[in-house]
């Protein structure tokens, strides 16, 4: 192609080394859009080889070429990705984003077409449907009676679980985990099935305290229809609303797995367990007496207008623990994950990320690193585990290779990897399990009988460090490993962090697929913490308390505090009052979700926030802060 351009330019006397600005418009257009009329015979030298390669035909032009490559089914993924760099996603000019053909948009009910209705917030849509049968003709009402009833019911279920701010045309890609869970919940309630056992995993995640009662009502509704509802949950309100509460514990991992107490919430409260103490308010996460001053530097983001944000400007004081909060759908994620993070990563790593629209940003020079820690899983293969993810497994292997016995035998670090042929068990290939294919019956997983699940061959296992083989080390919990590796500072430091983020109970070799979202997030967090921070690092965490019990939150907060004490900035998106109350700086978005939100209600310390009248967060924070014994 480039050869074509060169030849074409030569023919038309276009100088390729002129600056674009100085080039006559016709010439630029010729290069970009091609020459349709004249079929020119271009002689293309392929790499200046002696044989001239004859090319006859019209010059296509760069832009048509890109379009053709993008549309062609023959183009490879890589080529298409390359082309996409030069394109932007724009609202379709034919339908203006309505997605339907022109004819379909000219069918109307009560003067609204289907695309207009899809664009309404669910509460407005429900209001429009309310009494619709009186606004349309009798004939229409008779035909549509059943459909109308069905729609109104379904909408009502969605409103009941607090999803008032969504629109029907909202793409499910952009929904948070909590939102999609609540949609499924609403759908299930709508199905009116009976005698089902529903199991829900932390439905309160991502839900602001204000909307909790709606969720509880929805759960009760599901129960009243005649179902069993089992909820795994850490939220105080939901625990107290339960008919029957089961407390599993007392501690994590090996120290857990028993029923501490069960019964009605009142009975559990009286049991004196750790959970009960937090519920009673006997044990609380202390509010720091003094808020961090920060280092006086700020990042200032002005005029963010992505999604529902209404020209939001915020100031982020650096060196502080910042919490961004607000009811669901108020625009927290848009502001932080889709605007701020791309800006920062563009600045720090020159990444290609595309921030949502904003006017200006100042103060970026005060940071040199940005780290986002989300809840996506750390690995999808059973061969990935916390030790390999955090990177210290390499160091453990090096440690094993340095043992005199290993040196005598000539084992290097690779020998101790279960992914490398030499050291692993050759029957299960380091998996510890063997898959027996049963042809038309499902595959059966059995413990590898050769290595007995240890993943390594006998020779490798003979190398012992302080009496433990490499397999024994993988089988250790983080807690035990901390003790075991105390004399090895570089290992100790990294493993200790895993324990610090509340993961003391997982084993080093636990397969990544068995980790929950919250656990995966904390593994990532500890990996980041294990790296040398620069003191000018900007951390962004999205709801790190997911799946955490009161005690774990305390652990987590300690880690976050440590980070900010070293001069880093930690920004947390969170609904949990325990996190909000210990923040140095709170940014509250709202007041409502969707179109009713997207404004900054408050910026400042938690103490000042409780005086805010508009903010829902303030009301809940008030009870939390004044609870201080």
């Amino acid at each position: 192609m480039f050869q074509q351009v060169v030849q074409f330019a030569k023919k038309h006397k276009i100088k390729l080394d002129t600056a674009v600005n100085d080039l006559p418009k016709e010439q630029l257009d010729l290069i970009l859009f091609g020459d349709k009329n004249i079929s020119s015979a271009l002689v293309v030298d392929v790499n200046d080889e002696s044989i001239p390669h004859e090319y006859t035909g019209s010059y296509e032009g760069i832009i048509p070429m890109l379009k053709r490559w993008f549309a062609s089914a023959n183009s490879t993924e890589a080529l298409r990705e390359w082309v996409v760099q030069f394109m932007t996603l724009q609202t379709c000019s034919t339908c203006n984003g309505a997605r339907l053909k022109k004819e379909s948009l000219w069918f109307k009910i009560d003067d609204r077409n289907i695309a207009e209705l899809s664009d309404l917030n669910l509460d407005n849509l429900a209001a429009w449907f309310d009494g619709l049968e009186l606004r349309i003709s009798n004939k229409q009402a008779t035909i549509g009676k059943d459909v109308l009833k069905e729609i109104s019911e379904r909408l009502q279920f969605l409103l009941n679980v607090g999803l008032t701010y969504l629109t029907l045309n909202r793409s499910t890609r952009t929904l948070s985990g909590g939102e999609s869970q609540r949609i499924r919940l609403a759908t299930q309630i709508g199905s009116q099935l009976q005698g089902i056992t529903y199991i829900l995993d932390e439905p309160s995640i991502g839900l602001h305290q204000r909307d909790n009662h709606r969720l509880i009502d929805a759960l009760k509704n599901l129960r009243d229809v005649g179902n069993n509802v089992i909820v795994v949950e850490h939220d105080k309100d939901i625990m107290l609303a339960a008919d029957h509460l089961i407390d599993v514990g007392p501690k994590a991992g090996k120290h857990g797995g028993t029923i501490v107490s069960e019964g009605t919430p009142t009975e559990v409260l009286a049991s004196g367990s750790d959970t009960a103490k937090y519920l009673n308010g006997e044990k609380t996460i202390p509010v720091p007496l003094e808020r961090r001053k920060g280092n006086g530097k700020i990042i200032e983001l002005k005029g963010a207008t992505g999604n529902n944000l209404q020209n939001v400007s915020i100031q982020l004081p650096l060196g502080k623990l910042i919490v961004v909060t607000g009811v669901s759908g108020s625009g927290k994620s848009t502001l932080i994950n889709e605007t701020l993070y791309p800006i920062l990563s563009k600045y720090c790593y020159d990444s290609k990320a595309n921030p949502m629209p904003y006017k200006s940003v100042k103060g970026l020079e005060h940071i040199d690193k940005v780290i986002e820690i989300d809840q996506s899983p750390i690995g999808r293969t059973p061969r990935s585990n916390p030790a390999t993810y955090c990177g210290f497994f390499t160091e453990i292997r090096t440690l094993f290779a340095a043992i005199p016995e290993a040196k005598i035998r000539g084992y290097n670090a690779g020998r101790f990897s279960f992914n490398v042929k030499t050291g692993r068990c050759d029957v299960c290939e380091g998996g510890g399990m063997r898959v027996i294919e049963m042809n038309f019956l499902p595959d059966v997983y059995v413990h590898c009988e050769k290595c007995n699940g240890k993943r390594y061959n006998r020779e490798t296992l003979e190398i012992r460090y302080k009496g433990k083989s490499i397999a024994d080390v993988l089988d250790m919990t983080v807690e035990d490993a901390v003790e075991f590796f105390q004399p090895v500072p570089y290992l100790y430091r990294k493993i200790k962090i895993l324990a610090d983020v509340g993961l003391g109970y997982i084993t080093l070799g636990q397969s990544a697929v068995t980790l929950s979202g919250g656990e995966a997030q904390r593994v990532k967090l500890s990996t980041e913490l294990g790296k040398k921070d620069t003191g000018k690092t900007f951390y962004i965490l999205d709801e790190p308390t997911t799946g955490l019990h009161f005690q774990d939150i305390e652990h987590l907060l300690n880690v976050l505090h440590k980070l900010s004490d070293r001069g880093n900035t930690v920004l947390v998106i969170e609904h949990n009052m325990d996190v909000i109350k210990v923040a140095d700086h709170v940014i509250d978005l709202g007041p409502e979700g969707g179109d009713g939100g997207g404004k900054v209600l408050f910026e400042g310390t938690p103490e000042d926030l409780i005086h805010s009248k508009e903010s829902y967060t303030a009301q809940f924070l008030k009870t939390e802060l004044l609870n201080i014994p």
């Binding site: 600056a19 000019s93 997605r99 004819e103 045309n169 949609i183 199991i199 995993d201 089961i246 599993v248």
Partner: protein
């Protein structure tokens, strides 16, 4: 079964993961919350024991053949679970990454909305913004009697609307069917053997099915002719009032040099929005704009689905947005040399 109490799910001897051989009874028809610090075994109890067993039992109901496709369900390490009803887990998984999946589609509200629009929606013409009408055969006959009583009319069935061609075969075929007159570009002509029209011009051709005077004597004949006209004209027909003087000079209002917009049948009448002839009245069994002759197909729920080719916007294929070339990305820096400025990243 007799000893099993009906109001509890009994789990005995659960040993999944770190669970220590525990027995739990979970009351039915109650809101039950399981709590505890992370890693204490909540999920092991709720998901890996109760849910897993429920799923496994459900899978067992399939034959061995079907089970090989759904994969293997491991039996949770538990002695006994009784009183278990079908289990549905509502997890946090973000459901679908497909850009075609929306809140409306996953909640099925949009599907009902489509149905509602297909059955109850009222069509408006995108040319004039007026409400569209459609007629039944009886209504057309009634209308003819009301509007043209005592007048002499022709019933015309449109065969060609705004297309180029010489139409030799069409004329021949029509002639063989026994029709004697056609109306070409507004002018009524006798069908003659080897007749043809200018192949490079756009033509409107209707066949004259019947010419008669509207009066009660011809009631049966009119309704039969209307039926036949609609059949020939594919649900569309015209009624031309014959006035002695207007019989001739009816120039086709469209300029014949205009581009041939070969769109699909319905929107062809886009270009047809001229006031054809005040003495011509269009009737259609399909939804039609009375002023411009624009007609829509009978709406089906599909026509409102952006995930169906019947409803999707043809440009963006129902996605709502399209990739377009961004010149700022193609030439990020205008001051650079041409050979170094274009398509470089």
């Amino acid at each position: 079964m007799s000893e099993i109490s009906n109001d509890q799910i009994e789990v005995s001897g659960a040993r999944v993961h770190n669970l220590k051989n525990i027995d739990v009874s979970i009351p039915k028809n109650k809101l039950v919350v399981i709590t505890g610090i992370s890693g204490s075994g909540k999920s092991s109890l709720a998901f890996d024991t109760i849910y897993a067993e429920g799923q496994r039992r459900y899978m067992e109901t399939f034959g061995a053949y079907a089970r090989q496709f759904v994969g293997d369900m491991e039996r949770p390490d538990v002695d006994k679970i009784t009183g278990l009803s079908p289990v549905i887990s509502i997890e946090q998984k973000t459901t679908n990454k497909n850009p075609r999946s929306t809140v409306g589609t996953i909640t099925e509200v949009y599907d009902f909305l489509r149905l509602l629009f297909a059955r109850v929606g009222e069509a408006y013409s995108y040319n004039t913004g007026k409400k569209m009408v459609k007629w039944s055969e009886e209504e057309i006959v009634e209308n003819i009697f009301r509007r043209f009583d005592g007048e002499k009319i022709s019933l015309l069935a449109p065969l060609v609307r705004g297309r180029k061609g010489h139409y030799r075969e069409l004329f021949e075929e029509t002639r063989k069917k026994g029709f004697v007159k056609v109306r070409i570009d507004g002018e009524i002509k006798d069908l003659a053997p080897k007749m043809q029209v200018d192949r490079y011009k756009i033509h409107d051709i209707e066949v004259v099915v019947d010419r008669l005077k509207v009066s009660d004597d011809f009631k049966v004949r009119i309704s039969q002719s209307v039926q036949q006209t609609l059949k020939l004209g594919k649900d569309l027909m015209m009624v031309a009032v014959e006035k002695e003087e207007s019989k001739s000079k009816n120039q086709n209002p469209r300029s014949n040099t205009s581009n041939d917009k070969t769109l699909f049948e319905n929107s062809e009448s886009d270009v047809y929005n001229a006031p054809v002839d005040r003495n011509i009245v269009l009737f259609s069994k399909q939804l039609m704009c009375e002023d411009t002759g624009l007609s829509y197909e009978e709406p089906s729920p599909n026509a409102f689905s952006f995930n169906s080719p019947y409803g999707a916007c043809p440009t963006c294929k129902g996605l709502g947005n399209v990739y377009t070339i961004d010149m700022d990305e193609v030439i990020p820096d205008q001051s650079k040399q041409l050979k170094k400025a274009v398509l470089l990243r």
